[in-house]
């Protein structure tokens, strides 16, 4: 397993060599880097060869492997994020980074499934964040290394070209399954909800959570034709009866509260396809998995990745490992 964490001076050398780089790290470190073929986002949490850790001194580096090449970098705001799929390269894929809680993050989260050419080509990525002690005092940022632009408002997307005979495919690893409880259906899409239908009965969601004694460290889970898609709880406002989420819920989709997971690492390792780490070009895992499962110092298979405030595999995900593999063409 490669050591992805590198000092600024080492990353500088890779940039000056012309490598295409996907970077994650402390804002002060990323600001010291020269222009080049890279994008980056702020976050100090990582899963590494040494296990999960917090590091403010080094940058997490994904140096494009398998002959992949940076075919350019785009930045999007709320006015043009809907073009993110239609502008992806025909023979390639995109890696996106969005600043957490920015308007473009919210616009992408809510609108992505209805954007033109949604999912036609692979889009993987993550939501940048800050150390949890810095919430409220520092803002998540993204970096466009090609121009030196730093933004807390825009999304940055690297277009990545594939070498001949290779194909990119997205995957997710989600250890959560629905717990078999009642179906929870929301009347409208959004990052918060008051009224819901629980097995057809309309009620206040905050009250229901309290009454049912739900552990809100576990996500809501929806069945997307066999793939479990999570929505994580952010907070409950008991006074106003409102429940807030880290990703939007969508109207009409039945969600169920997830079943408890006894041992995250054991469950993760059991679900991890063999040798997946060797085929992955980029991956990311969720800060909530890191926190709720105490992943600091623990390893999750042979996966090394930034720990993020949200994951993207076509659309925004929560409490999930998202990854892109590069394999030979299948036919």
């Amino acid at each position: 397993m490669r050591d992805h964490l590198q000092r600024v001076e080492e990353v500088e050398k890779l940039i000056r060599r012309g490598d295409g780089l996907l970077l994650a790290g402390d804002e002060a470190l990323l600001r010291r880097l020269p222009r080049g073929n890279w994008i980056g986002g702020t976050i100090p949490y990582f899963m590494t060869a040494q296990g999960g850790l917090v590091d403010h001194e080094r940058i997490f580096v994904d140096d494009l492997p398998f002959g992949l090449r940076c075919d350019g970098v785009r930045r999007y705001g709320t006015g043009d994020i809907e073009r993110v799929y239609s502008e992806l390269p025909a023979n390639g894929f995109g890696v996106a980074i969005l600043p957490a809680s920015s308007p473009v993050h919210l616009a992408f989260a809510l609108g992505a499934p209805n954007f033109e050419q949604f999912a036609l080509r692979p889009l993987v990525g993550w939501v940048s964040g800050v150390h949890l002690d810095d919430l409220g005092s520092k803002s998540p940022k993204v970096f466009d290394g090609t121009t030196g632009e730093v933004s807390e408002e825009q999304a940055v997307v690297m277009h990545i070209g594939l070498p001949p005979g290779k194909v990119a495919e997205l995957g997710v690893l989600n250890i959560f399954r629905d717990g078999g409880g009642p179906a929870i259906v929301f009347p409208a899409a959004g990052f918060s909800a008051r009224e819901v239908e629980v097995d057809g009965q309309r009620q206040n969601f905050a009250e229901y959570i309290k009454k049912a004694g739900l552990d809100t460290r576990l996500p809501l889970v929806a069945d997307y034709c066999g793939t479990a898609i999570n929505v994580s709880y952010q907070a409950i406002d008991d006074v106003n009866g409102e429940v807030f989420f880290y990703a939007p819920v969508f109207a009409g989709i039945p969600y169920r509260h997830a079943a408890p997971v006894k041992d995250f690492v054991a469950e993760f390792d059991a679900q991890l396809p063999k040798d997946l780490g060797h085929r992955i070009a980029f991956s990311c895992n969720c800060i909530l998995n890191f926190l709720h499962s105490n992943l600091e110092g623990k390893k999750t298979g042979d996966i090394a990745c930034p720990i993020t405030f949200g994951e993207i595999a076509y659309q925004l995900l929560n409490q999930t490992l998202a990854y892109v593999t590069i394999t030979d063409v299948a036919r």
């Binding site: 080509r121 194909v167 997307y224 299948a330 036919r331």
Partner: protein, 77 residues
Amino acid sequence: MQVPPATHSAWTALLTGKGKSEPSFLAARMLIVRCRMELVKGAAPDKVKKFATELRELYASNADCASVQQDLPKIFG
């Protein structure tokens, strides 16, 4: 296996959940759920046709992926 035209009934079956099997291709799973959310509001033939075309295009554009090649015989075989 070649990707059948959008007029093939299996695309509609897949969109409406009446198909022989669920797809393994992640993009298709996500697109289908988005389409089903729309179809719940009203499954007008034009809308179904539009979604079938979109789903077919998704498979055709990703025909080199292993999961797409696994899905095609399951859906159309």
